[in-house]
């Protein structure tokens, strides 16, 4: 089912991320269904909903960790389930878990992700990223000594330290509750890092119940579209 975009859209305005009729099923329940939206360069979206509504699951489905129950996700017109490579090269995901190895130092943690994404691994480049989240003076501290807020900031330094190597698109950031446990100055730092990324053309989707200002962001309400499981099953296997 190919979506038709209006002909007078400038190339810059063409949607890069196109989500079509997405549904997610976890533990026997349909969390959300019929989700449909698209984002172009520099745009952002905010996933809203009460706890347990499925915001995290939405981000995980978008990232490709969970297969969608129905629907598809298109990145640059390619189905991300079928052609994952380009999508993954552009995707940076920050989930609930911080993804830190507690025995390594802060900078060693970051260096691994930079190496994995073919980003610069020199100390200078990494400390720049740490400075953006305010952790540069803790670079050589073992990660286990960090507080919860500091760990969150290190997790957020990951997308900053691994910019996309693709000339056409700055990439996609999926941030799950990014500002949990962060104080005001840190939140401000994160917001400016996000703004700078969007200026380069990056797309940001964040889920949050905590304060986070994303100017001009689309709002996606993930309130449970509680379909009867039997109905959904009939739909799928009629």
């Amino acid at each position: 089912m190919r979506r038709r975009w209006p002909r007078n859209l400038a190339p810059d305005q063409m949607p890069i991320l196109d989500v079509q009729y997405l549904a997610c099923r976890r533990g026997g329940r349909i969390l959300f269904a019929g989700l449909d939206f698209s984002l172009s360069k520099g745009e952002a979206a905010l996933a809203l909903g009460h706890n347990g509504a499925g915001k995290s699951s939405l981000l995980r489905v978008l990232a490709g960790l969970i297969p969608p129950f129905t629907g598809r996700i298109l990145w640059n017109d390619e189905d991300t389930r079928q052609e994952p490579y380009d999508f993954r090269a552009a995707l940076r995901y920050v989930g609930h878990a911080d993804g830190l190895q507690t025995n390594l130092t802060v900078i060693q943690n970051l260096r691994y992700w930079a190496a994995l994404y073919s980003a610069p691994t020199e100390r200078l480049a990494l400390t720049d990223a740490l400075a953006a989240v305010g952790l540069d003076d803790l670079a050589d501290l073992p990660a286990r000594m960090l507080s919860a807020g500091q760990r969150r900031r290190l997790a957020l330094a990951r997308p900053i330290a691994t910019p996309s190597t693709n000339a056409h698109t700055a990439g996609l950031w999926l941030l799950d509750e990014p500002t949990v446990a962060l104080d005001r100055p840190s939140i401000a730092r994160i917001e400016s890092a996000i703004a700078e990324f969007r200026e380069r053309g990056g797309i940001v989707i964040a889920s949050t119940n905590a304060p986070l200002t994303l100017p001009g962001a689309q709002e996606i309400d993930v309130s449970a579209t509680v379909l009867d499981l039997e109905d959904a099953f009939e739909d799928a296997y009629a």
Binding site: L65, R88, G99, L116, S118
Partner: protein, 221 residues
Amino acid sequence: MTAFWATLARDLLIARREGGESLLAVIFFVLGAMLFPLGVGPEGSLLALMAAGVIWVMALLATLLALDRLFQADWRDGTLELMALAPDSLTLVVAAKCLAHWLVTGLPMVIAAPIMALLLNLPPEGWPALLATLLIGSPALSFIGAICAALIVGARRGGVLMTLLALPLYIPTLIFGAGAVQAAIGGFDASGHLAALAAITLAAAALCPWAAAAALRQAME
């Protein structure tokens, strides 16, 4: 391939930081073998008959013990799913982790093997074969075990369950490994056994990372 080398370096660095934890498996290896003389009596000729099999069984069990640390820690702190989202295939990451695991637990067992051979009165004709089989066959143990570790990552009572899953899969390696040593002791040509063992290790190295990566992806859904 950057994912492979980066992950290998990282896992080796972590193992070095954790220090003694990685050597626990080798200690179990030697300690467990020591139990056999205590159990069956110190008579030299009996031990000589059993030595090859006992050493190989202990190698299996010690590897199983150490497999716990292959994926559990990364699963718990969320690193594993980030690795799955990297552009390079998860198979490469898993292969690197298996190799690091072998370097940290398997290789020390090969180094400890002469001590074991001494304690268990392995006839001298068997010593070269023992070292050869452990060197060739212990990587297979790490690779095959990785599939089981991936299947049960995050499960409760995962350790014991993994034993039940992995031991049947280890049987061919055990048969050819111990068989080679016993052939050497008996004066027969062990090259056939070694060739079979090498085939198992190569096949495991080629296929198991892919299967383990598939298991990890299934676990993340």
